[in-house]
């Protein structure tokens, strides 16, 4: 599809969403409350393997979700395909209301549901110049060199999120974006990870990323350095930092988890453990990668400081958790990071290898999981272009290694420096639909990082 088709789709849905909301809320009886939300996309997906097209297609999807709160505070949600061509919006609104009333019937009262009582509104529309479908393949592959073994996914188009409630709240977010998330491979099975994302495709900029990846591959042609499991000095490139940061979304920064004593950060909040003073983390909606409104109709502050100079400031707290535990909501319905930012430090990125001296340059980490959650211990693997460095000079690729390390050491006692420069790592998840969000993070130099296999 082209740009005008994208905008047409978004505009069409915006209008229909407003109409169905008006009709639905108008049918509610006294004491009943509801929220309507819309998630939609029109996306071109082109999958590439060995520098050729593996699969290519187009997906249009739109889902309308109703959260219904009965007069006795029984709650239910129903999500249905939102099909503009379905015609009669009166029927749609009436049928949906009948279904949610039936589904709430006999369900125990939910003491922690938040009624939509205050209205707020926002409208954010990011327009872009997305490649027309017919130009995607030639743009992705036309500039490749013979033998470039590029593997990855291009996804481009419009993503939409809307929310309205019976108190009069109205929020709208639509964004024209694309990404190509790819890796470039050598015949020896080693690869460099790269990508290109934005709102306006510039062919030259994309090909620059490929040229750089091609250059970075050269070091991976050298003999493999096999290391024994031990502690090593490491530099985590921003993409590796981002992977480690993701663990904070697995229950760690959740106010609900903290209240239930399920989080490794319980010890930090109590002051029993602390991170390095160099480590500051916040949610920054100013990056423009994620809607600020939540499923419960709240509008998050533009910035939510979480950890400042190593000290715990606040956790991510939904309105529901706030009600249950008497905490203060900061507009995080999922209580996981959506648009995090780690503050940069003093190390010049260009000096990373020199500062590392002898140790491991880790470009990417893979498949992280808690190995002992309550104690903040994480295991995972090195992946892609990880290199052994001696006296500031790259020696050669390493055989992939498993680490088992705590977030308290990585972001605390072993943190030597953060790079001054930070990089945007866009969210590329496409489960069910394209996700919003992304992270801005620096590289990290660690004195010791524990490898076990």
């Amino acid at each position: 599809m082209n740009k005008s088709e994208n905008l047409h789709y978004a505009d069409q849905l915006h209008d229909l969403f407003a109409q169905v909301g008006k009709k639905f809320f108008g049918l509610l009886k006294n004491g009943e409350h509801a929220r309507l939300s819309l998630s939609a996309e029109q996306t071109q997906f082109t999958r590439v393997s060995r520098g050729k097209v593996r699969q290519s297609g187009n997906v249009t999807d739109a889902v309308l979700k109703v959260q219904f709160i009965s007069s006795v505070h029984s709650v239910c949600e129903i999500a249905v395909p939102f099909v503009p061509e379905s015609g009669d919006l009166n029927s749609l609104a009436g049928e949906l209301l009948a279904r949610v009333r039936a589904q709430a019937e006999g369900v125990p009262q939910d003491p922690y549901v938040n009624l939509p009582l205050q209205k707020s509104s926002s409208e954010t529309v990011f327009k872009g110049q997305i490649l027309p479908a017919g130009e995607v393949v030639s743009s992705l592959l036309g500039g490749l060199q013979s033998g470039d073994d590029l593997v990855g996914l291009y996804a481009g188009g419009t993503t939409i999120s809307g929310l309205a409630d019976s108190a009069g709240t109205n929020h709208w977010f639509s964004s024209d974006t694309f990404f190509i998330d790819y890796s470039l491979w050598l015949e020896n099975g080693r690869a460099v990870k790269s990508g290109y994302a934005g709102r306006e495709w510039v062919q030259k900029d994309y090909l620059e990323t490929v040229k750089k990846a091609r250059g970075d591959l050269q070091i991976l042609n050298r003999p493999v350095k096999v290391l024994r499991p031990a502690e090593y000095r490491v530099f985590l490139a921003p993409s590796a930092t981002s992977e480690l940061l993701n663990m904070f979304s697995w229950g760690a920064l959740s106010e609900g988890s903290l209240q239930r004593n399920d989080s490794p950060l319980c010890a930090v909040r109590k002051g029993e453990k602390q991170f390095s003073k160099k480590f500051s983390l916040r949610e920054n909606y100013g990056l423009g990668m994620s809607p600020r409104f939540t499923a419960e109709g709240e509008l998050s502050p533009e910035a939510v400081p979480l950890i400042e100079n190593g000290r715990f400031v606040q956790a991510l707290c939904s309105a529901r958790t706030a009600k249950e535990y008497g905490a203060l909501s900061n507009g995080s319905s999922s209580e996981s990071l959506r648009t995090p930012e780690i503050a940069g430090g003093e190390l010049q990125a260009a000096d990373a290898l020199k500062s590392l001296g002898t140790g491991l340059y880790l470009s990417d980490l893979h498949y992280l999981n808690w190995s002992d959650m309550i104690h903040g211990r994480v295991t995972g693997m090195t992946r892609y272009g990880c290199v052994w460095v001696e006296d500031g000079q790259p020696v050669g690729p390493i055989q992939d290694m498993r680490f088992d390390e705590t977030i308290f050491r990585a972001f605390g006692s072993e943190l030597v420096a953060l790079t001054r420069e930070t990089e945007i790592i866009p969210e590329t998840s496409t489960y069910v639909r394209r996700a919003f969000g992304g992270a801005r993070v620096p590289g990290m130099l660690l004195e010791r990082f524990n490898f076990t296999l």
Partner: protein, 480 residues
């Protein structure tokens, strides 16, 4: 629906050598969950739409829409054709209609008692009762119980005469209790994350069965709160079926997927240490290891009659007496690789194209009873229920954690230990398989959440296994 899809097919101008397939998929998923004494989730998700594939110039193009009208489907079909045509000049492989057989038939899950008879009040009453049952002391800080029920209908027609319909009913029951005592924090669940997953109906909600699970969860949580850390040592490891499920999934299922071996997944899920030339002779495990792809097991989570390319699904041996025989590869992957595969080209929904997936991947029963297995081990550790999983992108170096473990001392199960973990390397691990449990030790489990693919797809898989014993495995506990 069949008539509409066939009508659209009949109106398309499909050139000689081209092919069109239309897959309608409708799914309703009910999520009901309670935590402690209150409802936490009461959500129903309806999804419905059509995926159209068009094969032109040897390339499949696809387009998907939720608008299921004749006009919309005609437009969507032409969009799919355009996708194929614009990619054909730079196609990875030139496919033909052998990848889309004209299968016909019908499959339905075996359901003894439909869930439709249960009211919302009944469902919440059941879940609240399970939570109350798990709350056996003040040490139990949080309890939760959930029910997921899916009704999934697929209608598939194609220009070369395929027409099949599949109707699935799927049930998952989860329960978990968390506890604290003297600074120790532990969790216990019924077999690990969403592992109690089956095709069927309300017969998987028998109160006596679920109550017994809740009682076990609560009792073992208390054991864990009083237990010492799992020791660090290299020893014999016995895995229960609900942990074998994860071990099979990560270190047999994924590495045998032919699309990984062919390189398509290298940018996301990863590759494999297995090479195409390994099929037919690689010693994958000890002679005790027999592994099947089996979509015919009655109540296992990922049973079906046809995959989403139309290939008829049959039971096949992937590994026989430890030797690698067959890959997890669709007709597309089989033609590309020349390696024998299975009917596993599956899509997570109407809005995703089918790719190579697992379905039911099972370890076949051996001859050793559970008691004999334990009796034959002087020192070791027995582990149950996965709680942590991580493996490299070639599916070799893994580290897994379990919820519950007991030491094995002088042929008997002994001390309960907490935070049990183990690590190893796939290429050697299965050769350390020294005992395979008998049919009485078999357990059948599944999960709704296996992630893979670009664009990403989460799909249902099933795994059945007996208890198994491995020699010389590195095990260890938590906090250093």
């Amino acid at each position: 629906m069949e008539q509409l899809l066939k009508k659209v097919l009949s109106q398309l101008s499909i050139a000689s050598g081209e092919w069109v397939g239309i897959r309608f998929h409708r799914e309703q998923t009910q999520y009901r969950e309670v935590r402690d004494s209150h409802p936490e989730e009461n959500r129903t998700v309806d999804s419905a739409g059509v995926m159209i594939e068009w094969l032109a110039d040897g390339q499949f193009g696809y387009a998907a829409t939720p608008v299921v009208t004749e006009k919309s489907l005609m437009e969507t079909a032409l969009l799919a054709k355009t996708q194929a045509q614009s990619a054909a000049g730079r196609a990875l492989f030139k496919f033909d209609t052998r990848c889309r057989p004209p299968s016909q038939g019908r499959y339905s899950s075996s359901v003894r008692t439909p869930l439709a008879g249960l009211s919302e009040a009944d469902k919440f009453s059941l879940l609240l009762a399970l939570c109350r049952r798990m709350k056996t002391s003040d040490c139990v800080t949080t309890t939760s119980a959930g029910l997921q029920h899916v009704l999934s209908d697929t209608v598939y027609v194609s220009s070369n005469g395929a027409h099949f319909e599949q109707n699935l009913s799927l049930v998952t029951v989860s329960m978990e209790a968390s506890g604290q005592k003297n600074g120790v924090v532990q969790k216990r669940s019924n077999h690990g994350l969403s592992a109690y997953s089956y095709q069927g109906g309300a017969e998987f909600l028998f109160v006596d069965v679920l109550n017994a699970q809740a009682d076990k969860v609560a009792a073992q949580l208390h054991e864990l709160l009083d237990a010492p850390e799992c020791p660090s040592l290299t020893t014999s490891l016995v895995l229960s079926p609900d942990q074998m499920m994860l071990q099979i999934h990560e270190s047999i299922g994924h590495p045998l997927e032919l699309d990984r071996i062919l390189g398509d997944e290298r940018n996301y899920a990863g590759s494999s240490f297995v090479k195409l030339e390994d099929f037919g002779h690689l010693r994958y495990g000890s002679e005790l290891l027999n592994v099947t792809f089996d979509p015919t097991v009655r109540h296992e989570f990922a049973s079906y009659a046809f995959d989403d390319s139309g290939a008829p699904a049959r039971r096949e041996f992937l590994i026989e007496k430890g030797i690698l025989r067959r890959g997890l590869g669709s007709l597309e992957s089989q033609i590309r690789s020349g390696v024998a595969g299975v009917a596993n080209q599956r899509a997570s929904s109407w809005n995703r194209p089918p790719i190579d997936r697992m379905a039911n991947i099972n370890v076949e029963a051996g001859q050793t009873s559970f008691n004999e297995m334990i009796a034959g081990i002087e020192h070791g550790v027995y582990m149950e229920s996965n709680r942590s999983w991580s493996i490299d992108d070639y599916r070799n170096k893994f580290q897994f954690g379990c919820e519950y473990a007991r030491l094995i001392e002088n042929g008997k199960l002994g001390q309960v230990v907490r935070n049990p973990n183990y690590r190893g390397v796939t290429s050697g691990f299965w050769k350390q398989l020294v005992a395979v449990g008998d049919a009485a030790s078999m357990g059948v489990f599944g999960t709704p959440y296996c992630g893979k693919g670009e664009p990403n797809q989460s799909i249902r898989v099933g795994h059945a296994s007996p208890v198994c014993a491995f020699a010389g495995v590195e095990v260890f506990g938590g906090a250093v």
